[in-house]
Amino acid sequence: MSPTNGRAAVAIVGAAETTRLGVIPDVAEIELHADAVRNALSDCGLSVRDIDGIACTANPVALAHYLGITPTYLDGTSVGGCSFMLHVRHAAAALRSGLCQAVLVTHGQSGRSRVGVGGRGGDPSSLQGQFEAPYGPTGPPTLFPIGVLRYMKEFGLTHEQLASVAVVQRQWAARNPRAMMRDPITVDDVLSSRMIAYPIHLLECCLVTDGGGALVLTSAPRARDLPQPPVYILGTGESSETPMVSQMEDFTSSRAFRVSGAKAFAEAGITPADVDHLMIYDAFAHLPIYGLEDLGFVGRGEAGAFIEAGNTAPGGRLPLNTNGGGLSYTHTGMYGMFAIQESVRQLRGTAPAQVDGVEVSVAHGVGGMFAAAGTLVLSNREP
């Protein structure tokens, strides 16, 4: 038997350090990564176009954007100096299971000169610190919706349609005793709520709450012996675009959503028509609109009218954000866990606002401001 127990072996084919070592006061930290990457690619003869996976202890979204990579595998595991051993291990598993074709594991640290450190944003020498923060944003509510006016101009989305996203999700929340906001609201209520960042009103922004969630995963054979009906993972996807919302390729669509969704559906062997229940991370009211289109549930420019017409509401043909979503259920800051929890409840048949006959549920999450995306296709049928 082979040392990999019959699984395809994975190899390190390129390896290189930065061109210089020691004291490098003239190179920002992110460029130290890029320099090492250029050298490693040169070493192995692959092109950056061959790379679709990226792992680093800094923000892999920022590095992928800097390098011009559209990844389908990102690993930002940061557990100290051994992180790279974990990156290699995770990359080996990802390559064996086909999540991606070639992974970069990179390191760059301006540990002595401290040039351009703090790459996760907030630091004045980061790219966000230089080219976004000086223009006065105050967190996601005043940045994330920046493309909405462009979307409105391109596709004729109305303020009323945008408001209807919040109205419909409140209808779901009204059926959920654990939802934070349960009183019915109207489009007028939404449009007369406080303006946060035109065209976004208070009721089109997610809640800010406390809470948490956890999941336990094991193999299907072992799952059969456990008390709960298993929720199987049919397909998964992930991708990223840019850590700077101002650098999105298209302000009416998320590239990360499109890549992540397509990968998950392909892996599961399904199309949107096969989906019984859908969760789309709704940090703001425009997220379900972008998500419905970028995942292929409706055509471009159609999502606003689709939601306004009640298709995603209780009794509609595509139940969406059935816990009430980040807008009405809860939003701790990283809501994706709660989207997965609701998909699991719907597939177990235990949701407060249970939908009849759910066999396939999709949970789609956003990271940052259209910076990254992750998609899960889940089912209560064993694949």
């Binding site: 920002a28 011009g68 020498s125 790219l127 105050t138 967190g139 005043t142 909405v148 101002s246």
Partner: protein
């Protein structure tokens, strides 16, 4: 101008951009092999990975691609609120975030695709590129 507004801190890779601003010029990196400009600054072209790239002065002209109007002012922006945070489509291709000056920031005044031109304002140790309605354009 409040001293509290966020100040950019250049790195060696972005310094030429800020050097241009200090001289009243908007400069972008240009890749001759792609015949294309790119932004934000990087040591290599994000399309072809060539490091044979150059800094060029660009026109400073663009159009208002998208924006929102922030009603929750950042430190130092209290007297400006509500103010637009905009994305400008530059004539040469790249887009950049900016503020719009020289016009009251209302939805009625700020019409998508309206022509803009760059102007500069001191911010800490740098000159920050801002945009105003282009001369001769509807105001």
């Amino acid at each position: 101008m409040s001293p509290n507004k966020a100040e950019p801190r250049p790195t060696p890779q972005t310094q030429p951009f800020w050097d241009g601003c200090a001289q009243g010029e908007l400069r972008l990196q240009y890749c001759p092999s792609c015949a294309a400009y790119y932004f934000p600054p990087r040591a290599m072209c994000p399309r072809c990975w060539s490091t044979e790239v150059e800094w060029r002065r660009v026109s400073g002209r663009g159009v208002l691609h998208t924006y929102l109007i922030n009603h929750r002012p950042a430190p130092g922006f209290e007297e400006d609120a509500p103010y637009a945070i905009a994305v400008v489509q530059l004539e040469e291709g790249p887009r950049m975030m900016s503020n719009i000056v020289g016009i009251e920031n209302t939805p009625e005044n700020l019409v998508l695709d309206m022509p803009l031109e760059v102007t500069f304002e001191p911010r800490g140790s740098v000159m920050l590129p801002l945009f105003r309605p282009a001369k001769g354009a509807r105001q």
